[in-house]
């Protein structure tokens, strides 16, 4: 078997970290558009100022869909940068509320899930993924098997994503002592 070492990334190592956030943002954008009042409620819960509520209700789902489309376009690196910006913004919003001791519903889709640091960590992990997605892979033709691996990885990613949130939902909320909080 002829094993060659190169300094570039294999296309799979770019395509899989691209497919995950693309699927994530496409789903997030569609979910927000399908239940606009719920999204507005989430924005309110995150204490978005009144005058920004409607613009953000309209702009964010479109931005998410745009990011998903860009990730799958020839301007993948731009999509990855935009995805990183959104992830950073969401993580910051969650961190601000967590620091202030507010455990609102995170708005992660599905059944309610109170904010916790694990979700900020999740976004940090996704940020790392977008760094991979922005890379240019080495020249190698994607075979049918490669596409199958990407599809399977996407499926696995979805499962892990759902499982991660489900585990968080099942966890008993940790009761902080007064000393820990102050």
């Amino acid at each position: 078997m002829n094993v060659s070492f190169t300094f570039g990334l294999d296309p799979l190592l770019v395509w899989i970290p691209t497919a995950w956030p693309a699927a994530l943002f496409a789903h997030a954008g569609v979910a927000k558009l399908l239940d606009r009042p719920l999204f507005l409620q989430h924005l309110g819960a995150y204490r978005v100022p009144s005058r920004w509520l409607t613009p953000m209700q309209n702009a964010l789902p479109l931005a998410e869909l745009g990011v998903a489309a860009l990730l799958l376009s020839p301007w993948r690196a731009l999509g990855a940068a935009a995805a990183a910006l959104l992830l950073l913004a969401y993580a910051s919003a969650m961190a601000v509320h967590l620091r202030a001791g507010r455990r609102l519903d995170c708005g992660c889709g599905g059944a309610p899930l109170p904010l916790r640091w694990a979700l900020v960590g999740r976004n940090a992990g996704l940020l790392a993924l977008t760094a991979w997605a922005s890379q240019t892979p080495v020249e190698r033709a994607m075979s049918l098997a490669d596409h199958a691996v990407t599809a399977a990885a996407l499926l696995l990613g979805c499962l892990l994503w759902v499982a991660f949130h489900q585990v968080l939902r099942q966890q008993r909320p940790h009761r902080q002592s007064f000393l820990e909080k102050h």
Binding site: R103, L104, P112, P114
Partner: protein, 313 residues
């Protein structure tokens, strides 16, 4: 007497023949596995009828009407959850099962419409969310109103008084607002001031838990008031009871407050009943045709830290 477990909250069926208590039990009394249930009792015999298991996330909070309520059609019981993310567990009474969990970020307390399976909630941004359920208890429609109040400068008490779809709210500084919660989106109907500019100077504010009541004709509002109020005094028991004519916005009379923290009219409107937040006593006034109050009965130690009062007749 009915046991309400730990920090149980309750509501009635529209016919008032059933009492629904949402409560919590821990397997070791004060610790251990948590089990939340909705217990159904017969209001005539006070006997236990059946229970429905709830997800263990209901709000274990001091009693307020909105924490458990029954939809206008009597089909669903709505239980407020707080994990502390807020949501509503919808219990289907016919199937005796949980029908759904409605995410309600930033909003609190259920205010059912008179008809159908619709309820509204006050939200932290000053809006009112209205959620309409379908036959299966799933969300069919969700709408947010315009901003109804300023949560930072003059928040509304969570307690609301209700006649059908007419709901009254009182703000911390004494603005009375009437909303119609019958439609798919909440509408403001009227607004009056409970506190005049002069009284405001003396710091008169409403305070307590179930801290005001509207008579069954929707003519008068009785509020538990205290003077020298300030930010944080909103649960102070009453120094005086103020009677407000809702149509004219005029104050008709004031009465000694008797430490009132919660009050309600009897269903025929001829009695006003109140819980004394200082001593746990219950006070009863006779209400005459002109709305004048005459103190009748004082029941000493009617409850230990009782805060929610409903009238059986």
């Amino acid at each position: 007497m009915i046991s309400t477990g730990f920090a149980g909250n309750f509501s009635f069926s529209p016919e008032k023949n059933e009492l629904y208590v949402a409560t919590t039990y821990l397997s070791r009394g004060s610790r251990g596995e948590r089990i939340d249930v909705l217990e159904v009792h017969d209001t005539e015999t006070l006997g236990f009828k059946y229970e429905v298991s709830l997800p263990p996330k209901r709000a274990q909070a001091l009693n307020y009407r909105g924490l458990v309520s029954t939809t206008g059609n009597g089909q669903f019981v709505l239980v407020q959850n707080a994990t502390p993310a807020t949501s509503i567990t919808v219990v289907h009474l016919q199937t005796r099962q949980v029908a759904s969990e409605v995410p309600t970020p930033g909003c609190w307390g259920t205010l059912p419409a008179a008809q159908g399976a619709r309820f509204s909630m006050l939200c932290g941004d000053g809006k009112v969310a209205t959620i309409t359920l379908n036959e299966q208890g799933q969300v069919q429609d969700r709408q947010l109103s315009e901003k109804m109040f300023d949560p930072d400068n003059d928040a509304w008490f969570h307690h609301a008084e209700r006649l059908g779809d007419r709901y009254w709210f009182v703000s911390f500084q004494g603005q009375v607002s009437e909303l119609n919660l019958g439609g798919p989106v909440a509408q403001r109907v009227a607004q009056t001031a409970l506190v005049s500019a002069k009284d405001k100077k003396a710091g008169w504010r409403p305070g307590g838990y179930q801290n005001f009541a509207v008579d069954p004709q929707g003519q008068r509002l009785v509020a538990a008031m205290h003077s020298q109020g300030a930010e944080g005094s909103h649960k102070r028991p009453a120094e005086q009871l103020w009677v407000l004519d809702l149509a004219s916005g005029k104050r008709l009379a004031t009465y000694p407050g008797m430490g009132t923290a919660s009050l309600t009219f009897s269903r025929h409107g001829q009695r006003l009943q109140a819980l004394d937040g200082m001593t746990g006593a219950m006070n009863v006034w006779r209400v005459d045709a002109a709305g004048r109050l005459k103190h009748q009965v004082n029941v000493a130690r009617a409850g230990e830290a009782a805060l929610h009062i409903e009238s059986h007749d």
